[in-house]
Symmetry: D4
Amino acid sequence: MNIESLNKLLHSVASGNLSVKKAAEKLKHISFEDITYAHIDHNRSLRKGFPEVIFGQGKTSDQIIGILGKMISQENIILITRINRHNADKVISHFPEVEYCEDANMVVWRKHEIPIHGKGTIVVISAGTSDIPVAREAYLTAKYMGNKVESIFDVGVAGIHRLFHHKKLINKASVLVVVAGMEGALPSVIAGMVNSPVIAVPTSIGYGVNFGGLTALFAMLNSCSSNIAVVNIDNGFGAGYMASAINRV
Amino acid sequence: MNIESLNKLLHSVASGNLSVKKAAEKLKHISFEDITYAHIDHNRSLRKGFPEVIFGQGKTSDQIIGILGKMISQENIILITRINRHNADKVISHFPEVEYCEDANMVVWRKHEIPIHGKGTIVVISAGTSDIPVAREAYLTAKYMGNKVESIFDVGVAGIHRLFHHKKLINKASVLVVVAGMEGALPSVIAGMVNSPVIAVPTSIGYGVNFGGLTALFAMLNSCSSNIAVVNIDNGFGAGYMASAINRV
Amino acid sequence: MNIESLNKLLHSVASGNLSVKKAAEKLKHISFEDITYAHIDHNRSLRKGFPEVIFGQGKTSDQIIGILGKMISQENIILITRINRHNADKVISHFPEVEYCEDANMVVWRKHEIPIHGKGTIVVISAGTSDIPVAREAYLTAKYMGNKVESIFDVGVAGIHRLFHHKKLINKASVLVVVAGMEGALPSVIAGMVNSPVIAVPTSIGYGVNFGGLTALFAMLNSCSSNIAVVNIDNGFGAGYMASAINRV
Amino acid sequence: MNIESLNKLLHSVASGNLSVKKAAEKLKHISFEDITYAHIDHNRSLRKGFPEVIFGQGKTSDQIIGILGKMISQENIILITRINRHNADKVISHFPEVEYCEDANMVVWRKHEIPIHGKGTIVVISAGTSDIPVAREAYLTAKYMGNKVESIFDVGVAGIHRLFHHKKLINKASVLVVVAGMEGALPSVIAGMVNSPVIAVPTSIGYGVNFGGLTALFAMLNSCSSNIAVVNIDNGFGAGYMASAINRV
Amino acid sequence: MNIESLNKLLHSVASGNLSVKKAAEKLKHISFEDITYAHIDHNRSLRKGFPEVIFGQGKTSDQIIGILGKMISQENIILITRINRHNADKVISHFPEVEYCEDANMVVWRKHEIPIHGKGTIVVISAGTSDIPVAREAYLTAKYMGNKVESIFDVGVAGIHRLFHHKKLINKASVLVVVAGMEGALPSVIAGMVNSPVIAVPTSIGYGVNFGGLTALFAMLNSCSSNIAVVNIDNGFGAGYMASAINRV
Amino acid sequence: MNIESLNKLLHSVASGNLSVKKAAEKLKHISFEDITYAHIDHNRSLRKGFPEVIFGQGKTSDQIIGILGKMISQENIILITRINRHNADKVISHFPEVEYCEDANMVVWRKHEIPIHGKGTIVVISAGTSDIPVAREAYLTAKYMGNKVESIFDVGVAGIHRLFHHKKLINKASVLVVVAGMEGALPSVIAGMVNSPVIAVPTSIGYGVNFGGLTALFAMLNSCSSNIAVVNIDNGFGAGYMASAINRV
Amino acid sequence: MNIESLNKLLHSVASGNLSVKKAAEKLKHISFEDITYAHIDHNRSLRKGFPEVIFGQGKTSDQIIGILGKMISQENIILITRINRHNADKVISHFPEVEYCEDANMVVWRKHEIPIHGKGTIVVISAGTSDIPVAREAYLTAKYMGNKVESIFDVGVAGIHRLFHHKKLINKASVLVVVAGMEGALPSVIAGMVNSPVIAVPTSIGYGVNFGGLTALFAMLNSCSSNIAVVNIDNGFGAGYMASAINRV
Amino acid sequence: MNIESLNKLLHSVASGNLSVKKAAEKLKHISFEDITYAHIDHNRSLRKGFPEVIFGQGKTSDQIIGILGKMISQENIILITRINRHNADKVISHFPEVEYCEDANMVVWRKHEIPIHGKGTIVVISAGTSDIPVAREAYLTAKYMGNKVESIFDVGVAGIHRLFHHKKLINKASVLVVVAGMEGALPSVIAGMVNSPVIAVPTSIGYGVNFGGLTALFAMLNSCSSNIAVVNIDNGFGAGYMASAINRV
């Protein structure tokens, strides 16, 4: 339950428009709701400013639909991440109002358009064309959390003049999300150019000793620039979430 | 060279108090200065708001002293990290005005007290007593970069009531730095309680399958909370730096 | 052969109801039975209180059926673990009385209901919804080995109030089985709350540097709580078995 | 503070022998005590039946002495693990009544002899002579936690008749702690012989691909016997603690 | 070309039954034959007593058929290992006289029955039912290289009395091949019982931290018995080959 | 844009055959061209003597076709590497003049035949038949970059006389590309025979502890010969490219 | 106790020269002897043809001396491996008749010269000068187990003509022990030349990605030759022992 | 023996100034010389254009002196790499004419100044100050092999303008050796700027997940630039040697 809905409900009680009994019924699950296969954390919106995000991977479509159904009455926005087309279709057949963003494997449900709360612009940059899906996950997450977001794709260090061309946008960013696979060098170079915080996202793109993204991850953790912190491999969602948290400090 | 010194110099030229020739001489190395074993990046203060930090590990005391000597005329503050007592003593014998913070293996040189620029309070938390040196490195870095910083030590998850006792301070933090070794669970628990960004720092404390901090690192990257990003093992400096960058967004 | 059947047989011999020759024939394989592709350990029930469990993975359905056929005459209960639907169907077509528990990939054959031998209640807890199959394997194993078992699912540390809600049940458990993927932090937190032994089960749920469960495993082995021991990744069966052994000490 | 001391204090209040004010003062730190470098968990005795154990590795002797000093007034027994001779000597010079068990790198402080609370006998077995220090750590921990403990050393699988010689003692154990380095095969063999729970402890003894104990650890986690759970490499303390928890179920 | 064929050819030359020109033509490729995608090592039979074995994995059926066609005229026996049913069928359609041993993924072509050259009996033992395919590969290789071979399957250490039952056969072996997955403990136990050389073969059977056989491999290399040497994971062929080489010393 | 086209264009401007406006239009993207999902580095031909190569893996066929379409007007030759038959067919349906080299998973587009620029002969050698696809990728890359290339396949160290047979060709090479899987020993042996530089390419061929080519990679990096440098696993393209760069020094 | 001593003792009983009571006393420990910190396996000489070897690493000098003292009365030869000079000196001061072979870190005690029992010649070969200590350990072990042994040092593959110079000796060997660090290529090349079994010993010599011998180990396990089996890194003792076992088949 | 000495000797024979007998004596070891602990490869100068280099690590000073003594009469230049000051001093006391380059841990013996044979200029670049020792090893090796060499130190990507300042020298290089630790990004950036071959050298500088240089190594192998090949961690010698080989193509 978000703070907005809670306030409205309490005002109704105060004004006598809602009986205490009915209000209590509505608030019964304000902490969490146990539906056997899940303890839905309805308190998260109040506590963290954004509701629980449904991690789609490893859940059945029935479980996803069940959780979504319990949340929809209490929230303004709900994200389902790492959901494949098959499960997304099943969700859509129950909740036709959701939107499937296939380029980021994400389902979005919104009560209304999300207003922008963040202070500055978050800029999402990818080193290669193949890194775009992860970059898009970061982009959409940050956007649906209420931020202004821009993106630049395929500006890896093998032709570094392409990056420098975007220097102006890079310098104006309040937070940067930099997505790269292979040798993962791009975040170091960008962080060396700016004083804003950089969230580095390693991707699993590459082969041989890229080790499914480990090499990029370790390279980013070893960066000789210091305004960098790192999230898990292919974790575009986490990067967008963290960027949004930073953009509200 | 920091922006303050640069402005002063240009004003002197404008007012005729400094000849163009002398100004040019002073600005010769504004980009960088090549002293054979190092290319000192004097431009960093201008570009990033904080001068190059001297990474002490793997450098001889002569190299450290040489670099410090070249920087001191151009900066207000200089940090040397990962410097042992032996090398610190040598530095002190050349520059008696520096201070050695042994609990963080850091040498600090300051022209004057550092004013506070950061918006909120950075809170540094450690899971165990043995993690304190890394937490102190983060604390001092954030402090010398101009932030208000507070700390809580030894509140690991095996007695989680100790953590909850500090809930008020934790909730008021603008950014949190959470330092933990062993299973590295503390950042997940804390990030689940707040909506501020959390910088997680794994430490090498532990034995057996802690793998010198790798287990804590990977646990933190796998956190089921999302407002977390991670730095290298034992990298208190990087965490303090990143927290400071976030605290100015 | 279990102790009950053996006693009955020997009483029949003592009473003259069974000839020595026939008894010898029946006892021929009391140690083990060699059917070329398997040495069935019929002695296990006598030695360990529970018959050999058939590990389904990597065995053909013919091999499973062959082994089950040889055991059925001698035991009260037989479990087949890690068996997929295809092989389970083949087993069912031969032995229609078996039951397939698909949510735990387990086949169960029972001569009669299993009485409860264990002293206290075993509580099985999972951190996430996706960890449920492993938790169910532990649950069923402990149950069919004659224990009272209860379960709580999806109470991970990102919303730790959900866990504390179940404090009463957690405190009354004689043994706890705690199942978690990703950063594997839940067993540490729970073990810090109780003085009962905790069996921690890492799962392969997660992505990137969860390494198919290794990160959770190592985190659990590094727990700062001490009343914890760990089993292999996704080894719900082993956890249930060990919990049952503990529950009879 | 342990339950015994707490009861005594409350009886004094009830009988008027202790003023409420003085009792409150004594109970001030009943939850925990913050001494800057440590949050001492005085509540642990009440919650878990045994006080916090001081993990000596990575702590200075001053820190150890400081923590010990705060605990001594509230507990009957205190253990310091992984403490080297140098630090142990410093502790002894402050608290001459402590005892240093060098073969297990452990310091013990006892108000009085520890009565036996455990139900059965814990048997600690080591595969080789070089594994003895770890086995002794398990032995002493279990003993000081109030259990009857016996031990058998150097009965590895290369001469398996040595193990079978002790079959009687092995079979009577309520819990077994089995300590092995190199290929770590001993716990599998022993667990196959008994129905009691086995806590397996890998040691770092060996060379080459023993990887400091990892090979033994992984072998134990892969055991084809099921009444086994595993603790961290060289973690004799954890094994003894877990065995004690099991011995009280 | 094997020594037998070579002798015959040279006798024909000596007796005038074969012209020097024709003999030279026949001997043209006695060293090797370059067919672009392969340099067939026809010299191997002479040098090593057994012809080149065709490693089927990673080769197209056309390549396998091409190589086999060139070898068939010069050898008495040819083995193709790691060949799947699809490719085996293609080979059979060209060379109907070959035999496909599906339980070992091996194709065999023989000019005539292979006489026994080895001195003693090679005994192949597997720890589990699932290890049988690897054990069969070792069995067939040793047999087709001219040895007397016997086998015992599914005698793992969790029920060690099953192993001791076969003590007589184990003691009479000249060489033992011991195949095991999971914790890989069986070779240590067997090598401790005998003075013959033991070739240990780790298999990829298991899950979690068996790491596709690595744990068994490392356990075997760390064996506390010394009459052991190890081959690659799942390398039944290599074990059978090495056992055969030993059996002729 | 390559140097040849640029010169022609500038001559047309100089001679008045091309207006400045039209020339500017044509040169608009001479640095790079941003087509949202890619920043095509048209400057690469000028800077590096060879245009950007399209890495096919992880790109959709639409993306590949889009990039190719933008490059074709500006280059003489374009390579697409790591492209499967499905995507290659889609490319061919748009650009029927391209050629698909299935044995190397490479698509080639050429305006005209590539003249030979390299100084000497590049020799590509593979250890086994299964390594041929990687060797072919190196061969074709070096050839299409304008070099004379020869190849020798399947001359691994288990029958080292096959290698010595080609000593003459090996000695005359200006650069050698040596491709090997399994133990990766061939580059060491060859580099010990010659004074030319050897580019070693590990392949993923093998099983068990070949770790998908890691063992061959590490063996090559540890070579006791010194005229060796190594590229990523299965990176035939990179080896051919590097060999070509060396052949023009 | 070896078979020779046992026969003598039983003859004395048969002839009445030794009373049954005294004989029983002498045979009391024929199985093993428990001296608390060790279970000495006196049965090993009878069972395996060679007494238990004392693994010196990780044992105190007191433990070594204690074990040696108990064995000396029952054996003809005793080896102590991996013993440093300090401990060796302590052993010598108790048993001046032992010999310390410093180049192999081995102590030897012999009642008399060891006669040669092995059938053929064992040849020990090292790739480099730095591998000699491991090769010497293999050499001495094989020699003291009663074999004719010869050695060739520093014939690595970077100058392969050095190896071929010794072809005659290599071909006459009944068993070969081949010791190599770095890329570990030598065993493959040698095994390709002969039909005798090759025991490959990886050493920890090298740096960077030799990983303390792992690369050589994995290369040897991946050998494209088949008459190879491998022992642990730096395990010269095990190689010599295995070679000796093979030499008696 | 180098080609120059060999020609001189043969001319002496041809002119009758040297008897056949004496010449034969001098040429006795032209292939190699067996001095028990080493097979000195005197043929290497003839075969590879540069004599065997003595790898100092793991050799005793006596062994180094012995080998050097045998080589000095036959060569113009001899390098000893990875030799510490202690051993270098011992070498100097025997051969006072050698020079110890402590910044590269290298000893050099020269008959006369080395003339320049290489075609172009080799440029050695290091990312950081701490990488200088490895860069110096590459520099000296290339120089003593007869090349013109220049160097640039401490131009890492965190302040990339420092690198671009040296663009002219970088572009004129015939071969580049790029040395970097931490994230190892520098070679990718440089290789993207030039068309010359780049030899990348990872160093062990860094901490945490730099894994002693592995992260830099893997990053370099994953470079998105293609004119790169890589040598072992800290292998400055190999990089200098390979660069020299390339500079003579």
